[in-house]
Amino acid sequence: MGSSSKTGNYALSQWAAEDTLTHSDVNADNALVDAALKSLSDGISALPAALVGQRFCRVMTGTYTGTGVYGSSGKNSLTFPVTPKFVMILNAQHGFCGIGDCFSALWGLSTAPRLWIDGGQYTNEVAAYSGNTMTWYENNSASRQLNESGTVYAYIAFA
C-alpha cells in the first residue's frame, strides 16, 4: 500500500509507519511540484506585463537640519529624484503636525503654503518650484521657516 494521506495544499504524499514507499507516489508528487513551480514561474513572468499602464505613487522621504537663517537671503531648498506632486515638511523632533510645526505644498501651486502659528493665525511661506527643486522662505523667523538651527525636520513627498 502506498501513502495513506495527502498534504492539504498540494496533495503531496504523506506516509504512515505501515505504508510502503511506491514509485507511483513519488512520481505523482514530483509531477505536482513541477506543475506548482511552473504556475508560480508563469505568474511572476506575467507581472511586468500586468503592471504596464498602471499608475503608481512614489513616496520620497528625508530630513534636513535647520541652519538658523531665514528670509529671502536665507532660503531653504529640497531637491527630489523626480518632480513631486505634494510635499509635507514637519518638525521631526515633535513628530506630528502641531502649531508651528509643519506646512504642506501642492507642487507648483501659486497659493503660498501656510504655517499655522499661535492664536489661530498663520504665516505664508514664499515658495518656488523649479525642476525637481522646491525653495521657500518666511520673513519673520527661522522657526517659522522651519529652519531653526540644529532642529531636524522631516519631509515626505509624493510623486
Binding site: T65, G68, L78, G150
Partner: protein, 84 residues
C-alpha cells in the same frame, strides 16, 4: 544620501538634505558627502566645515567657531529681550 551646500550660510551653518533616495543630478552648488563620512557630517550639522579636493568631499569637521558665534549671538538676543 547626504548632500550639502558648498557655500555656507551667512551665519556659517551649512544647508543640507539627507535623502532616502539617491539623486542622479545634484542641485547646482551642492555636493554629496561620501557614505563613509555621513555619520560624522550628520553629527556636526548644521555647523559643518568641509575639506574638498577636486570638487569631492574628503573630510568633514564641526565648525566650532561658527557654532559658538551663533550661540553667543542668540544668548545676547535673549538677554536683551529680558532686559526690555
Amino acid at each position: 544620501m547626504l548632500i550639502v551646500k558648498l557655500e555656507p550660510e551667512t551665519n556659517g551653518a551649512r544647508a543640507n538634505q539627507n535623502l532616502s533616495d539617491t539623486l542622479d543630478i545634484l542641485p547646482e552648488g551642492w555636493t554629496a558627502v561620501p557614505e563613509g563620512l555621513e555619520a560624522a557630517a550628520l553629527a556636526a550639522l548644521p555647523w559643518l566645515s568641509l575639506t574638498a579636493e577636486e570638487g569631492a568631499v574628503t573630510a568633514v569637521a564641526e565648525n566650532a567657531q561658527a557654532k559658538r558665534a551663533f550661540e553667543e549671538a542668540r544668548e545676547k538676543e535673549a538677554a536683551d529681550g529680558v532686559q526690555q
